[in-house]
């Protein structure tokens, strides 16, 4: 049971986030902003290591728990930190997503089933070697294809939830300089930056 022992609103926000994480069935990652940031960083590192999309799904779930709260304008630090966390993950998505994914592209084209070798070939070591390479190449392409499918799904989900974060916490005026600068100076793709700025300006939710 988490108890609030501080009147510091920042602590309350993070603690609420952690409760949200716990309610989502994930392990609480601590009660401080530092722990929360560390956990997100660890998930990102894990993703860089194994390229498993589940790490991005975890981060999206954690950040989604922040959506409930309209963070007081005075807590600019909290808002900025969360904004950076979102951007950090969106950059990773931008770096890994292939918006031109096409299942018929030779880099992705795979078959659900590689037929076994013919009887006459099955005794040939060279044919066996080629067959094994073919199966492995097919498996890699299938994994690559599935990765794109899953990261596209995460991209859709994260973008949508992030738009809610922006709407709830930032006005549509040019006075949100910190927000605009953070977005512009980030490593996000140019297209993504424009999408986010359009959301902030209430031109679009998508």
């Amino acid at each position: 049971m988490i108890k609030f022992t501080s009147n510091d609103r920042r602590v309350r926000v993070v603690a609420l986030a952690l409760i949200g994480i716990a309610l989502c069935g994930q392990q609480p990652m601590g009660e401080t902003m530092a722990q929360y940031q560390t956990a997100c960083s660890q998930e990102l590192n894990s993703f860089h290591s194994d390229h498993d999309v589940k790490h991005l799904e975890t981060i999206t779930s954690v950040l989604a728990q922040q959506n409930p709260k309209t963070i007081p304008i005075s807590d600019t630090g909290i808002r900025l930190q969360l904004l950076r966390s979102w951007i950090q993950m969106l950059v990773v998505i931008d770096d890994n997503i292939d918006l031109a994914y096409d299942k018929n592209n030779p880099d992705y084209r795979f078959t659900m089933h590689v037929p076994p070798l013919s009887s006459s070939q099955s005794a040939d070591p060279e044919a066996q070697q080629q067959y094994a390479e073919k199966v492995e190449a097919n498996r890699r392409k299938a994994a690559k294809s599935l990765f794109q499918i899953r990261i596209r799904a995460i991209n859709d989900k994260a973008t949508w939830i992030f738009s809610g974060f922006v709407i709830a916490n930032y006005s549509d005026t040019s006075q949100e300089a910190a927000f605009i600068n953070t977005v512009n100076q980030s490593a996000l793709s140019q297209e993504r930056k424009q999408t986010i700025l359009d959301i902030q300006a209430r031109k679009s939710l998508r």
Binding site: T70, M112, S119, R139, R150, D156
Partner: protein, 595 residues
């Protein structure tokens, strides 16, 4: 012809011919016919009726459908200007039939007229007049109904007669002009078995500008029973009929409110319904929802009064335009609708829901695939509390935006958004995959003068009305059966990748496109010519899984074969509806089987 007396029946035994005898005994000089409509009786009562009264017209449904359908069948056969519906266990008192017909005529056919109902002793076939029942009340929230005494009914004078307004009616005895019956589309023949078809008819009358008037001077005796002794009435049917009536009559927000409450009230599991009574009733409703939607469009576009008007006229607490009443189930209401629980005042926002998948093009659809994500926000962009009942998950419980992902069960999901005291809900129907189908290009896989055959296929999972991009599919392990030339391949395992996803594209009626193609290929069994005709066949179970849930569900078994036909030269390869045909002598094509 002035009138038709229409008798509906199902397994009434001797009561049926005695009812007809009573009708003929009281019909007097009334220019009328008697039509008996049999709802699939199996007890010999129709034969007995014919023995007693061979001249009486009998129309039959071969199997039991329902009391409403039987009445519609009789009405279709009737020739009278006024239709008098009676149950097959009633005894009209002296002059009652003519009185009912005259009463309808006094209202110029603009009202349905009901008689005083007394109890019938089926042994003596005598009326027990010490207790009389008059009007019939209806609670729109529950579709509960009960008798109304005369003193609680509004008296009206019309055409020289004295009547009393009744909110509902009991279908055992009611008279209506042919013209009005047709205008109301009659009883709802799609209401199954028994229950609430009469209340539906009354509600139609009132909202379409007619009335239900009670004439206490006409008396019909009716055999009441504490339980159904001669035929079964399964509890899911009356509930399904309630759902149908609610859907037809209520505007969207009232319907959603009603639905959530009704679902909560009927969660209980019964001996014969371990899945819950609601699930069974909802399934029955869904089977024929199309016809309900058709009548709903007619009613809502032609009616003179809505359900709010009806509630106000008959002093019902629900629904109410001005109110926030939630009288029957406060606990439920609080849970489902927050502090303000009224379907009657439109909240200042609506839920904007859009499927994440861009295909099918209708992204605001409420029928979604298992695992399918839906983006949510409110029309006023407010920060909302989100909740969901059913097999689904939400990205967060509050927020300006939210993502709902369907689970892996075919079920309905009720999504609710609450802002302050206002709540709105949307119901989604989740469908699972049903079928795998494949499309083959014109090319094939083959080596000249060998018995191998095959092709590459694009794979789809139906139905195409939803998008399955939120789930994965895979083939389970299977082993080939080989005969003839393919005997050497007997027992070969079919090793497939798992799992694979979807491209997000939909192909018309075929469904969601799988991200990988499939290779159907016999391989070369290595046999020397001449080749003996034979077949290499596989039966492959297909499973789906929704990643965030994790369980695997078998949903289809896909047949596949490669065959050398009896002529010894024709090769056919087939899988999931796709096939190629070629000759042993056909030119070599794609011999490495690379799709």
């Amino acid at each position: 012809m002035r009138a038709s007396v229409l008798v509906g029946c199902h397994n009434e035994g001797d009561r049926l011919w005695r009812t007809v005898e009573s009708i003929l005994g009281t019909i007097g000089k009334l220019d009328a016919e008697v039509v008996v409509s049999d709802d699939g009786s199996t007890d010999g009562s129709i034969a007995e009726l014919r023995r007693h009264f061979p001249h009486v017209v009998v129309v039959s449904q071969n199997e039991r459908v329902g009391v409403a359908a039987a009445r519609c069948l009789a009405a279709g056969r009737a020739r009278g200007d006024v239709l008098v519906f009676l149950d097959g266990h009633t005894r009209p008192e002296e002059e009652a039939l003519e009185r009912l017909v005259v009463s309808v005529e006094k209202t110029k056919g603009e009202a349905l007229v009901t008689p005083r109902i007394v109890s019938l002793d089926e042994t003596t076939w005598r009326s027990q007049t010490q207790q009389s029942s008059h009007g019939y009340a209806l609670n729109l929230e529950t579709f509960d109904s009960w008798w109304l005494p005369l003193k609680k009914m509004k008296e009206v004078k019309e055409g020289g007669g004295t009547f009393y307004e009744s909110p509902g009616l009991v279908g055992c005895a009611v008279a209506v002009s042919r013209q009005m019956y047709d205008r109301l589309w009659g009883f709802d023949q799609h209401m199954r078995q028994w229950g609430n078809e009469d209340l539906d008819f009354a509600l139609k009358a009132w909202t379409m500008g007619a009335r239900v008037l009670h004439d206490p001077e006409a008396t019909v005796a009716h055999r009441f029973q504490r339980k159904f002794a001669d035929y079964e009435v399964s509890p899911e049917y009356p509930l399904a009929n309630k759902i149908r009536a609610a859907r037809k009559h209520f505007t969207e927000s009232v319907w959603e409110d009603w639905l959530a409450r009704a679902q909560e009230r009927n969660r209980r599991k019964l001996k014969n319904h371990p899945e819950g009574l609601w699930a069974s009733a909802w399934g029955i409703f869904k089977e024929d929802q199309k016809s309900a939607e058709q009548e709903r469009r007619h009613l809502l576009s032609h009616r003179l009064h809505d359900e709010f008007w009806y509630a106000k006229r008959f002093d019902l607490a629900w629904p109410s335009l001005g109110g926030t009443q939630l009288l029957a189930q406060p606990a439920i209401s609080k849970k489902l609708f927050g502090a303000r629980v009224s379907a009657t005042m439109a909240p200042p926002f609506t839920i904007v829901h859009e499927t994440a998948a861009v295909q099918p093009s209708d992204r605001s659809r409420t029928t979604i695939g298992v695992g399918e994500p839906v983006n949510l926000n409110l029309s006023n962009m407010a920060n909302a509390e989100w909740s969901v009942s059913g097999n689904a998950q939400l990205s967060s419980s509050t927020g300006t935006t939210c993502v709902m992902e369907a689970g892996d069960q075919e079920t309905d999901i009720t999504l609710t958004a609450t802002v302050g005291a206002d709540s709105v809900s949307v119901i989604f129907t989740v469908v699972a995959p049903t079928l795998v189908s494949m499309v083959a290009p014109s090319s094939y896989i083959h080596c000249i003068d060998r018995p191998d055959s095959g092709f590459c296929a694009t794979v789809y999972v139906a139905p195409g009305t939803v998008n399955f991009r939120g789930m994965l599919v895979f083939e389970e392990q299977a082993y080939a059966i080989g005969t003839g030339v393919y005997a050497p391949l007997n027992g070969e395992s079919h090793q497939a990748l798992n799992p694979v996803g979807f491209t997000g594209d939909i192909n018309g009626g075929l469904g969601s496109e799988v991200s990988g193609s499939d290779t159907i290929y016999s391989g070369d069994p290595g046999t020397d010519p001449p080749f003996e005709p034979g077949i290499l066949s596989l039966s492959i179970p297909w499973d789906f899984t929704v990643p965030w849930v994790g369980a695997n569900h078998a949903f289809a078994t896909v047949g596949s074969y490669c065959q050398l036909q009896s002529d010894g030269v024709t090769l056919v390869a087939y899988k999931a509806g796709a096939s190629v045909s070629l000759q042993v002598s056909s030119a070599t094509m794609n011999p490495t089987a690379d799709c």
